[in-house]
């Protein structure tokens, strides 16, 4: 998985690309979120536009990060879900847990 970190105002945007899967992408996601929190950034927006696969470990890590950020008083939201990733969030019913946005401006304004 590749990632780009952008700070827009108080929001840290994580642009992810590739696979969030067991053994690599899932651990990278956790590390990126932990680094954000350590840097004092607890408003986190995960941009999934370039993500091709997310397995159950990746989903589990995303849920874990969501809970960790919430415990630290922040909010983690998602944007630009590809169709297949959206399908997975639908079947796992996690679409009801995450705030999901199609437009980055709208996502940034929501914090």
């Amino acid at each position: 998985m590749k990632s780009v970190v952008r700070d827009i105002g108080e929001v840290r945007v994580l642009d992810l690309e590739g696979k969030i899967t067991i053994g690599t992408g899932d651990l990278q996601l956790r590390q990126l979120v932990e680094e954000s929190l350590t840097a004092g950034k607890n408003k986190i927006l995960i941009n999934l536009k370039g993500v091709t696969h997310i397995d159950s470990s990746g989903i589990g890590e995303m849920v874990g990060c969501f809970a960790t950020v919430a415990r630290r008083g922040g909010k983690m939201k998602l944007e630009n879900l590809p169709a297949k990733i959206n399908d997975i969030l639908q079947v796992t019913q996690l679409i009801t847990v995450f705030d999901v946005y199609d437009a980055e401006g709208e996502a940034l304004a929501s914090y």
């Binding site: 899967t21 053994g23 696969h53 397995d55 159950s56 890590e61 796992t92």
Partner: protein
Amino acid sequence: MAREAQLQLLSRYENIELAEEVLGELCRTASVDDETIYWIGMALREALANAIKHGNKLNPEKRVHVRIEVRPGAQLRLIVEDEGEGFDPEQLANPTDPQNLLRSSGRGVFYMRNFMDDVSFFPSDQGGTRIELTKNLETRRAV
């Protein structure tokens, strides 16, 4: 004509990529569409991750045995067998129950059951677990 592949993988996560590539190649030669290959590949990933992590407990001396059988236009079957100590699928909680939604694990078998038409578990001859996953190729997956 049926197409088959057999793999013996060391218990390393990076080998999941290899198995998925073999599956993709085999399916493409059998004219399986890309959408179907994607979801079958996701199911295979979950079966292998379970075998490596929960079955073989990442023991590098233990292997995961994979068999892929494609009957073009009819059925695809994946058989994944670990060398672990067995597994009871009845113990699994439903990850979509509201009290389980925020759990960080426990969705692997749920993935498999959503992406395939049938998922069955058997004790293997060596005491581990054999998972058989079947996809009817004449029908499309409905998420």
